[in-house]
Subunit: 189 residues, 2 copies
DNA sequence: CCTTCATTTCAGACATGCCTGAAATTGACA
DNA sequence: TGTCAATTTCAGGCATGTCTGAAATGAAGG
């Protein structure tokens, strides 16, 4: 760490934590730390700011920013009178969260759903009916979840928050409905 | 790959895919493949079965199973008349899914929530009020989501599925309610 | 169109993670 | 408690990922 830019103790610890968590989130330490900077910053940050704050190489910053752009977690923002690129995170935390969830779904779930559908089609002729049944079951379950997610994702943030605030009340509703209405489900395959 | 155990084409492709996805899911190829085996298997599998099916070393299987146990995604199951340990995945796919979500939350979200709370407390005396405000905002958002998750997670699977099936109807409900009731939210900090 | 600064790319060094065979440990059964 | 098979641990080797400085590319202003 060379002459670190002046960061408040609070920011330092926040950034350090995002670095530690980076690995668990499937990015890496540096990318995590770099992301943490514009989250807290009051103004868009440029690459030099990041170098000064974290003491990593200029090229590392470039590549890490590229990755963050790939995740759509940072946006370029032109700062008048400065030729350098500046970056910021969406001001609305909910917006960032939506993007994050969307990207993870795209990377971690969609490919599997696609592949399961392919295998399901090809399973028509396959004598391995046991495997085929389980593949169908898994495909159906994932589809149920992603369809629901798609629907909820259409809600504007205000209403999404309202839904989340319903928490316990919503649970009671569902519980009560279940005692009256028939909830017909194939529980297992 | 040495003399591979006889696996149907379908199983092979399923296992291969889980291997490919392993890296994206934060485990690794071998662990992913090993997990795929008992998912499709009709009976609990033992370490030797895995070695035969995947052609990896016995010690690798041991370590990978240890990791899967850490994720609570496989359970040991005693098979009468066989001294070897056997492993299976929960028969109910929803059960596995719940465990998976729970473990990821525990590893990827809870530590951050804990840390944000700590920082929030320590922020009392800190002059960096901008950072403090954003930390509070983030903590509150994550809490809202995890509280909601906790509530929904209490639902038994039947009712959880019913909720998911509601999808579009639920969205309409929320939409309609929003036009009538005041949904007071601080949208941004 | 040329200069200058910013950004990106890339090869090689370094670090981390993964896999293996050999050795140590565990545990069931006599 | 001794035996033996099964499992786990671990050091070392291989593979992959990360980071850097140097060189190439890009872009804005004269």
């Amino acid at each position: 760490m060379k002459e670190a830019m002046q960061l408040s103790r609070l920011r330092q610890e926040f950034i350090l934590h995002f670095g530690e968590m980076g690995a668990r989130w499937g990015i890496n330490r540096t990318v995590g730390q770099i992301y943490a900077l514009p989250v807290l910053a009051d103004a868009p940050v440029c690459a030099d700011d990041i170098v000064a704050a974290l003491g990593v190489s200029r090229s590392n910053v470039s590549m890490s920013l590229k990755e963050l752009k790939g995740w759509r977690l940072v946006n370029r923002r032109h700062v008048p009178g400065d030729r350098r690129d500046h970056f910021e995170t969406p001001q609305d935390l909910w917006h960032s969260t939506r993007i994050l969830v969307e990207e993870r779904k795209k990377r971690e779930i969609d490919p599997t759903l696609t592949r399961l559908r392919e295998l399901e089609l090809r399973a028509e002729g396959d004598p391995d009916t046991g495997a085929a049944a389980r593949i169908t079951e898994m495909r159906a379950m994932i589809e149920l979840m992603t369809d629901w997610y798609d629907e909820m994702n259409k809600l504007e943030t205000e209403k999404l928050v309202a839904l989340l605030r319903m928490g316990a009340r919503l649970k009671k509703m569902i519980d009560a409905a279940g005692d009256v209405l028939p909830l017909s489900i194939r529980t297992k395959g």
